[in-house]
Amino acid sequence: MFQKLFFLLFVKPFMALFIGLRVYGKHNLPKVHPFIIVANHSSHLDTLSLLSIFSIKDLHRIQPVAAGDYFNRNRFVSFLTHKLFNILTIPRSAINKENHPVKLMKNALEQGNSLIIYPEGTRSLTEEIGRFRPGIAHLIKEIPGIKVIPVFLANMGRSLPKGEYLPIPFFCEIVIGEPLLLQADKTAIIQTLENAVKRLKHSYEEYYREQI
């Protein structure tokens, strides 16, 4: 309820009027949950904008995967981000069998929730896409048949870079690629995903080079 109102009254108008968000390839999003969205990460706007493209009634089905040490750093931030963004926090250190990230993410998917994962592990400080971490490959191997959707997020890091708290209204864009069904060894999965997101970035840049 809290989340729905917040998105309806604040996030969606903010994205439409302030950011001027544009979405390409929305038809590539599967109609049925669960699935995994894999995107590059450079800003807090990434999650906000990705969630804003879903319908209000679908919101509770989508869980952005977030670092526990950052989002649970105090009770206020933790409460707010869990309530408003329905985040799934995973530990980055002191991992044991009980709190293992793969296990937590697998549980969420098995409950029918879709996940947003940023395999770079942290917000990039440049426009470049960093190396993808291997964790996601373990998860994909655990759940055969899960659809993985590569997404490229443009300009979010210019608008609200790491370390800033007030966004500048650059136009931001979401480019959604075709769903991938990945069954291979772990390094191949990671490489395929990384290439898929980089290819989206490349075609996006080509598109705008032609526009000018």
Partner: protein
């Protein structure tokens, strides 16, 4: 019917004129399509469609209520600045300066809202001009400092300061003895500027062959420029009722606006070329659209405003 037309206010007469122009254009395109179905008319059809939408939105925004009009110009200015900064290559260190640029948009229009003419004139060219480099300097990143400073200042002057003159035009009191409102003047300015763009395009498309600025805007021709400017000059006689000018004056003003509009258009093209060739290295979305429509206005609005202010409002608009 002519009697009913003459009873309308100048602004509404202007609206009827816009309607007539658009209807005529739509009919001509429809006829051309019937006569020469083998040619490709899609671009023209799309253009006229968007003209209908833009004309409706614009006319609605300026004829309803002055505060709504002002809000409309705030959004116009905001969107244009947004498109401009997005195509630029910006640095991480520009964050606060860019933020200031966007904050300046509503503030500049607030001076118009409260009618503080002096502040409206100097806020961006003096205060923002001085303050913005301070913010940039505080980011402590000297490499690219001057370039960032110049880029952001340029955008502010063109898309915020320049376009805000559209708003102040509406704020002008009635010109005594002429029953001309600021809204009528605004309508005159916008119709002349946009029709000039259209005339230059049409002349260029039909008989254009000698390129005027091949390295900046390869599609623009001497024929388009001269034909467009002359057509605009004659066309302005139709719009004389929106102004306090006599026939000779209106043509002189329209000719000036035609030249200014052309300059605004090609200056913006030069910026796009610059971005496209030199700066295009990372992610740059080139959302044209709004910028393509307001580039000429950035030049014509301040010039027209100051012509009017000089000849009709000297000593009338108070500076405090």
């Amino acid at each position: 019917m002519i009697n009913a037309f003459s009873k309308l206010s100048a602004v509404h007469q202007g609206g009827v004129l816009i309607l007539a122009i658009l209807t005529a254009a739509t009919l001509i395109i429809w006829l051309l399509k019937k006569l020469k179905p083998q040619s490709n008319w899609e671009e023209l059809v799309n253009r006229i469609k968007s003209w209908w939408v833009m004309a409706a939105v614009f006319f609605g925004a300026i004829s309803l209520n002055r505060n709504i009009s002002l809000l409309f110009f705030v959004l116009l200015s905001f969107w244009a600045l947004k498109e401009y900064v997005t195509i630029l290559k910006t640095r991480r260190a520009d964050h606060w300066a860019l933020l200031l640029a966007f904050i300046a948009v509503p503030v500049q229009f607030y001076w118009i809202y409260i009618g503080w003419y002096g502040m409206f004139l100097i806020f961006i060219p003096v205060y923002i001009f001085l303050f913005l480099p301070i913010l940039l300097m505080l980011a402590q990143e000297p490499s690219g400092y001057l370039e960032s400073s110049a880029k952001i200042q340029w955008g502010l002057i063109a898309f915020v300061y320049g376009l805000s003159h559209l708003g102040y035009l509406m704020k002008l009191p009635m010109i005594g003895g002429h029953v001309i409102s600021g809204q009528a003047l605004l309508l005159f300015l916008v119709i002349i500027t946009e029709m000039n763009d259209v005339f230059q395009y049409l002349w260029g498309k039909t008989i254009g062959s000698h390129k005027i600025l091949p390295k900046i805007s390869p599609k623009k021709t001497w024929e388009g420029f001269i034909g467009g400017a002359l057509t605009t000059t004659v066309f302005s006689l139709l719009l004389k009722f929106l102004t306090p000018f006599n026939a000779c004056q209106v043509m002189l003003v329209a000719f000036t606006l035609a030249i200014a509009g052309f300059c605004g258009d090609v200056v913006m093209s030069a910026i796009k070329r610059d971005v496209g060739i030199k700066d295009f290295s990372t992610v740059i979305p080139g959302h044209g659209g709004m910028l393509d429509r307001v580039d000429s206005l950035c030049y014509t609005a301040p010039i027209f405003f100051h012509i009017i202010a000089y000849f009709y409002f000297q000593g009338v608009i108070s500076f405090l």
